[in-house]
Amino acid sequence: MKVFLYILVLILIFTLLSLSQIPPLIKNRQRKELILVISLLSIGFILNFLLIIGIKLPNPIKILTTVIHSLL
């Protein structure tokens, strides 16, 4: 149940963030920035969402660590 609350809060935060971030870019016609900000925000949203629902993100550093450990 708490997960839903967290997701709700997450959506709220990201809505507010995009409301604050995106309109000025549209107004100034900064297309590149706009695309980048939207993609960053969506990646951020997905990562946070996965974190909340408890899916472990694959960690490339872990792989690197095991590789180095096995090499040495």
Binding site: V9, I13, L16, L17, S20, Q21, P23, P24
Partner: protein, 397 residues
């Protein structure tokens, strides 16, 4: 616009975080623990005694006259581990125990004989516990010490802490803090000493009136207690460690051997020089000492060069005796409480790996060579003892 963003976002975040003051605790929800005693019950469980401060009692006694209410409260609880026992205490206390101002750990001898590093692990791991806390070992149950009362101080734990702090005055009991023990435990070779604490009751007086006393020194081999040193042997250890700061050396009064005189130690210093001769270690212990003639019994005239020389010699033999008794007892018990090992390591880094491998053996074989350089300086306000003399010229009794 950007300015608005920078204002809005922190505000939102702060509002969202509003319920999250996780570590916040008010002073009146904390049970401030001043002393911790650790025992082991017969069934193997850990028994923890906490001396908890009662702020309200302290408050009332500042305005009114100190009434009969005690300003501390002792809670005892059991558990499988020390932490478990401490948390179990919260079943009895309405406030959560808080240890950052803990000043004293008391461990029972029974527990110490089986090793104390397990029990001290929590105290060195958790962030709430500080490593400057004084450690004591008692022949009784630790709970008794925690429960005991003290005349001078409102909070008995502070009394114990102050007892530890004034050990320098006599230098007959060491002052040991948790950090000292941890340093010794961490090293491969050092063994530790811990002051003993006891309750004394005087029979002829009010039986309720009891008093705390530092008594003897517990000797730990690694973290297991192996036995007690008496005051003299303790001072022997302290001489070697260079921890003697003050104190009185009793000597037979020159010219009146049946009486004693006291030499006050003003400054003392020591260093240990190891020497490897044919695979045998010889430790030269240099003790330098500045003293004053503090007290004289026996009314002979001591303030003259010959007497001073004789006193200095007597001090020499006295200290030598103290040190050698300590060393021989330690060698019997196989405990390097003198931290000889690091000295050897520093002097002979090449030979050290070999020596370290069976340091206990080497330690037992160490020969010591004590050089005392005592120097007597002043004699106080008196040139000669002021004594009433009768007509025959003999000392009045």
């Amino acid at each position: 616009m950007r300015r608005k963003i920078t204002l809005i976002i922190p505000t939102i975040l702060l509002l969202l975080l509003l319920p999250g003051c996780w570590n916040r605790r008010e002073l009146n929800t904390m049970a401030i623990v001043e002393a911790v005693g650790v025992d082991r019950a017969n069934d193997g469980q850990i028994v923890v005694s906490l001396q908890i401060l009662k702020p309200s009692a302290i408050k009332s006694s500042t305005s009114e006259k100190a009434s009969g209410t005690k300003s501390v409260w002792v809670v005892t609880s059991k558990g499988e581990t020390v932490f478990d026992a401490i948390r179990n205490a919260s079943l009895q206390t309405d406030r959560k125990a808080y240890f950052s101002h803990n000043t004293v750990y008391v461990l029972s001898e029974e527990l110490a004989r089986n090793g104390i590093s397990d029990e001290l692990d929590l105290f060195s791991r958790d962030s709430e516990f500080r490593k400057l806390t004084y450690v004591f070992i008692t022949r009784r149950k630790a709970e008794d010490i925690i429960r005991s009362d003290y005349e001078q101080e409102k909070i008995p734990a502070q009394a114990i802490e102050k007892l530890a702090k004034v050990t320098y005055a006599a230098s007959k009991v060491p002052k040991v803090q948790l950090i000292d023990l941890l340093k010794n435990f961490a090293s491969k070779t050092n063994d530790s000493i811990v002051p003993g604490i006891d309750i004394i009751q005087e029979d002829n007086k009010n039986p309720n009136e009891e008093s705390l006393k530092l008594d003897g020194t517990a000797i730990l081999k690694r973290d297991r207690m192996v036995g007690w040193f008496n005051e003299k042997e303790t001072r022997g250890v302290l001489w070697v460690l260079g921890k003697v700061k003050s104190g009185i050396i009793d000597i037979a009064t020159p010219g009146n051997e049946s009486k004693k005189s006291g030499i006050e130690i003003i400054r003392a210093d020591s260093n240990v020089v190891p020497e490897l001769v044919d695979g045998n270690l010889i430790m030269t212990i240099n003790v330098r000492l500045d003293g004053n003639l503090g007290e004289e019994m026996g009314s002979s005239d001591l303030v003259k060069p010959e007497s001073f020389d004789e006193i200095e010699k007597q001090i020499d033999t006295d200290i030598k005796e103290e040190i050698s008794s300590a060393v021989s007892k330690a060698q019997n018990w196989d405990v390097d409480i003198f931290k000889f090992a690091p000295d050897v390591h520093r002097k002979y880094p090449r030979e050290w790996p070999e020596l370290e491998r069976n340091w206990r053996e080497e330690f037992r074989k160490i020969q010591i060579n004590i050089i005392v350089d005592a120097k007597l300086h002043w004699s106080g306000y008196l040139k000669k003892p002021v004594q009433p003399k009768n007509t025959e010229g003999e000392v009045a009794q």
